[in-house]
Symmetry: C2
Subunit: 500 residues, 2 copies
């Protein structure tokens, strides 16, 4: 086979076309589908997933990869081949019986969790969850066994699925720093904010008007409506393909801030996806680098741009005009209310200062769980102990707002959580570099100019795709690899210094 | 292979799962997709279509069909096998080069047609259309050649794709009757309506309110919103799967009747699809019988139910309440305006009395075109001659409102048109049987009760799927095969007798 590499490109583009179908069937499922569609949709998705998997792990793919290795000399193609190989290895290292068992156990556990969480029913949840963990341990072991030199522990191999290239050792170091500094910082911020008079957002905000306001925010953030759309779903998410980015949010009539933050967040994800290198479209090397970079883009839009003082000052007129009832707040009041810090039970409702502690708590538990150094039954107690240590809050007996609050573990997605915090760190570091390059950034944001940020991100992040490792992307963009100091400095500047 | 039949069921259910994906990707394309999604969507759809085709015509399918033939003894399974065989033969009889060439030529011709029609550009259209016809002739010949005894001419084989089981001979007879009677009937109706004072619908009808009004109509017609939804697209259509029927319509602020008729029509299509036999779901024998039955269901909802005097009398209060500006019409005035008959150029805007003549004109041209007895270049002249003969209208030089008005031929869908009229005939005949069974039908419709009609249709039509031939369905439901007398009687009763 002299032309192995071009044949591989065709093979992976075929996979991408199946992914396209899966992507939009899943979007439809979350956003449009009436309840009666559940069963046929689940069957169609399972069929396509199996077809895709068979195609990826076919002997033909294996042969082509082997042949291409000796043929490809252009550096870009080498990198492309490497990412193809990565995807292939990730798929072929798992026995198909394990994959099927996981799909069943995960779907059962997730389905049960929806009511068990409501009912604070840990024993009921545990009955399903045990199998999920058991299978995840097998998965981690299998992934570890094919590359024991790259993955010192089984958990390292799971982490690599989401934080690809950002090693567990690196994360251990970063989290150690945060764990040392953050609890004290949280206390300082809470003390400083004590006695601040902040307005209460609770009111009646018509959903139709909120919808228009959020579209306006997307327009301000330069979302391209010829290449995407926003809809409503029960949890905000973003998905799609080049040229067709779909983001969602949810609206509550008692609060408007929640949807705006979600819209800014998902616009960041969508902008990254739509800015990926067009020349590698449909190939693994053209895909988003990893979730640590992905979350950095969403958090940069949400926390660094939208929640900045100058942008809030710019946006407040629009808020007042779409929701006249908000005229009672001015920009500084809105900013004060939106940057309120307080230790709390629920990760998804946490502010950016306490958020990393929620992640570290989960990371410490899931890594030990997968590496078999703690027992599943002990999770609630460990959770409670850590909550007391990091937040001064107890979750004893409160499973619902403790270890049962997140969906990630229910389907076996162990290793995902750290990317939220590495993403937040990256966002702060990237934004520091942007501020450095554009000293007039506050004047620009104050008139709603975000083009300079998008251009910078497109050059430094989006257009890189997976052509280089994540730490190379961060280093090339900011001068050094991910360094928690930028995030800590951001917290100090915003929450103690009152800047930005 | 001792278990060939069960294996075939699994094989065809797999095809149905791919169809599911294609169905909703196409729906999304027409209803939701931003322009930027066109290219990747087209690639994904082409990939899945090719995958589906390969799976269907695989040697494995052929072997299983051959083996199963000697094994299946249960009558229902025999019928199921027969429908599997039909689908397989339809796919395997065409060379794959021809299929690809048709896809390309059809897409080019249809794309060009969108502007050429606007510009009345027959020569420009002809340049692309020639190849479409040439390839369609090849397709028809290939389909004819595998079953020359069933298909006396090449066109018969094309017709069978849409009117499956309703032969060309049968259609020739039916159309001969209509052609003899209808022109005179049209003249009588036009004369009778001359001087009638009918209100003019032209006004300003807010789109939001129209949307709610149409959802209300669907509710009245017992559309199940747990198993479907309505959206907006540039042309009304219906698609979906069991449990998830998607219908669309379009709204114009200058007219409200158009959307209501389309909504009733598409609700009929969707009701049929959702009432197909659940035990055969996903297999060819469980699918809709043919387009003559499909159109009978949509036209029964649109023309027989919605446009009936008692239903209009029931619905008028809702119309008035959603669109207060319509309070100036009462029910008899609305009915008079909605049943106005007048010879016209455009098929899709035609009333139900003149509509069959539009279809017969097209049928006469397309059958001769495919059987190679007229030249493509002569179409405009033949069209003009027939328009003068059937309607007293000339389309000389007016290609846009003449032979270039429809999309069907642009992608080679020759043989489709007759099903509209056979459908209208079936609808009238079925509704006559319903009236016979339910002598109090007018009292029922006058209070918005349509349940008795749905129950009757579900028993007599929907639940049959493709387990029997279409004429058997009509015979079992009404006592005789499709007979144009019922339609002609319906026209006389409604338009000359002033009944219903």
């Amino acid at each position: 086979m002299p032309n192995a590499y071009p044949l591989l490109e065709e093979q992976y583009r075929k996979l991408a076309r199946l992914d396209h179908a899966l992507t939009f069937l899943q979007w439809d499922h979350m956003v449009m589908m009436p309840p009666g569609g559940s069963e046929p949709r689940a069957r169609a998705i399972a069929e396509l997933t199996a077809l895709r998997h068979e195609l990826l792990i076919s002997p033909q793919t294996g042969d082509l990869l082997q042949n291409a290795a000796g043929q490809v000399t252009v550096p870009n193609q080498r990198r492309s081949l490497q990412e193809m190989e990565r995807e292939y290895q990730r798929a072929i290292c798992l026995p198909s019986d394990l994959v099927k068992a996981q799909a069943l156990a995960g779907s059962k556990c997730e389905h049960g969790w929806r009511s068990q969480r409501q009912n604070n029913d840990w024993p009921g949840f545990l009955a399903n969850f045990k199998e999920v963990v058991e299978l995840a341990r097998q998965e981690a072991q299998a992934r570890h066994d094919v590359a024991p030199s790259r993955f010192p522990t089984a958990y390292d191999a799971m982490l690599d699925l989401y934080c690809t290239g950002d090693s567990n050792n690196f994360i251990v170091d970063v989290f150690a720093t945060l764990k040392k500094v953050l609890p004290g910082l949280v206390q300082q911020v809470v003390d400083k904010q004590k006695g601040d008079l902040v307005p209460d957002f609770v009111g009646q905000y018509p959903l139709d008007q909120q919808r228009l306001l959020n579209l306006e925010l997307m327009k301000c953030l330069k979302f391209n409506f010829n290449e995407g759309r926003q809809d409503v779903s029960s949890h905000p998410f973003s998905t799609g393909c080049r040229g067709d980015q779909r983001i969602t949010t949810r609206f509550r009539d008692s609060d408007f801030m929640d949807a705006l933050l979600a819209t800014a967040h998902e616009t960041g994800h969508a902008s990254y996806e739509n800015g990926l290198p067009i020349e590698w479209d449909g190939l693994p090397v053209g895909a988003a680098r990893n979730m640590c970079i992905h979350e950095s883009q969403s958090l940069l839009f949400e926390k660094q741009i939208f929640l900045s003082r100058p942008f809030i000052a710019f946006f407040i007129n629009r808020l007042h005009s779409f929701l006249p009832i908000t005229a009672e707040f001015d920009a500084p009041q809105l900013w004060a209310a939106a940057t309120r810090v307080r230790p709390s039970y629920i990760r998804v409702e946490a502010d950016e200062v306490t958020y990393p502690l929620h992640v570290i708590l989960r990371y410490e538990i899931e890594s030990n769980l997968i590496n078999n150094t703690i027992k599943i039954e002990d999770i609630p107690e460990i959770w409670d102990t850590k909550m007391q240590e990091y937040f001064g809050l107890s979750t004893a007996g409160n499973y619902r707002n403790g270890c049962m609050q997140d969906m990630h573990w229910t389907d076996g997605s162990f290793g995902y959580f750290p990317s939220y915090t590495i993403g937040a760190l990256n966002a702060a570091q990237l934004f520091a570099a942007i501020r450095h390059t554009h000293p007039d950034w506050q004047e620009k944001l104050a008139i709603g100019d975000v083009r300079f940020i998008r251009d910078w991100l497109k050059d430094s992040i989006w257009s890189k795709g997976s052509t280089v490792d994540s730490q190379e992307i961060i280093r090339a963009a900011t001068g050094e690899p991910t360094n928690p100091d930028y995030f800590l400095r951001h917290i100090q500047d915003r929450y103690l210094g009152g800047l930005y």
